[in-house]
Amino acid sequence: MAERYSSFNAGGRMWFLQRVTAVFLLVVLAFHFFLLHFVNHADEVSFLASQARMTTLSYYSLMILFLVTATFHGVNGVYNALINQGLTGTKRTVIKWTLVAASAVLIVQGIRTANAWAGIGLY
């Protein structure tokens, strides 16, 4: 039936999200590396320079979206890799919710940090 190969699985919402986030991350990660290593150099980092970027709403929003998509893509990738290695049953449920909790902690901490720079009181 499969004339051409694709890992596409009809109805696979997580499969689709993994790929949508991949496309987004390709662009934003390249931008991130370019901006913070080639435009601004690593040894010139300062709180004030980071603050100047983060007080711009478009940059702040992009970084929050970057954090959320990267966390989803990375943690979902780890989960998929573990399932691929044969993770099943109770272990699978426990690991799934551990990964969800770790993601939540990472996102909350990332937003707190972004808020500290942006001067938003919630941190």
């Binding site: 051409r4 690593a42 980092v45 709180f47 004030l48």
Partner: protein
């Protein structure tokens, strides 16, 4: 129609001798993925020093004496960190290029040349990494 393949355990001794390009691409993608998510957690932990730094005085911030600036400056002053950053770039670039290759294959493009596109990903990763070394090492000595 979806298909899944039983790739066996990569841990099985000496199986690597039998691996073809696609299997190496799969292993490298997985390995680089683990490194990147591990780095993301570390990255946010280091950046979190920005939270206490936000409470520092204007004078301390201007002088770069806040905990965030000091942490980054100290880390970036270590040659080992600079070398690890080059490694991180290599890992990220490979994951991005090979990921593009996977997205294209899923869209029905380039399956017949999937081995060649893997080799191209490796060569391009090497070239971009080597070309970036001067920028990444600048100021470390």
């Amino acid at each position: 129609m979806s298909q899944s393949y039983n790739r066996g355990l990569i841990e099985d001794f000496s199986r690597w001798r039998e691996f073809e390009a696609g299997m190496w691409a799969w292993i490298f993608h997985k390995f680089t993925g683990w490194v990147l998510i591990g780095y993301l957690f570390t990255h946010i932990a280091v950046l979190s020093t920005g939270i206490p730094a936000a409470g520092a005085s204007e004078a301390a911030l201007m002088a770069g004496e806040d905990v965030y600036t000091q942490t980054i400056v100290t880390l970036e002053g270590l040659l080992l960190v600079r070398i690890l950053e080059v490694g991180l770039l290599a890992v990220a670039v490979f994951h991005m290029l090979n990921g593009t290759r996977l997205l294209l294959v899923d869209l029905g493009v380039g399956l017949e040349a999937q081995d060649k596109s893997f080799y191209a990903s490796l060569i391009l990763t090497g070239a971009i990494t080597v070309a970036s070394v001067p920028t990444f090492i600048a100021g470390a000595f």
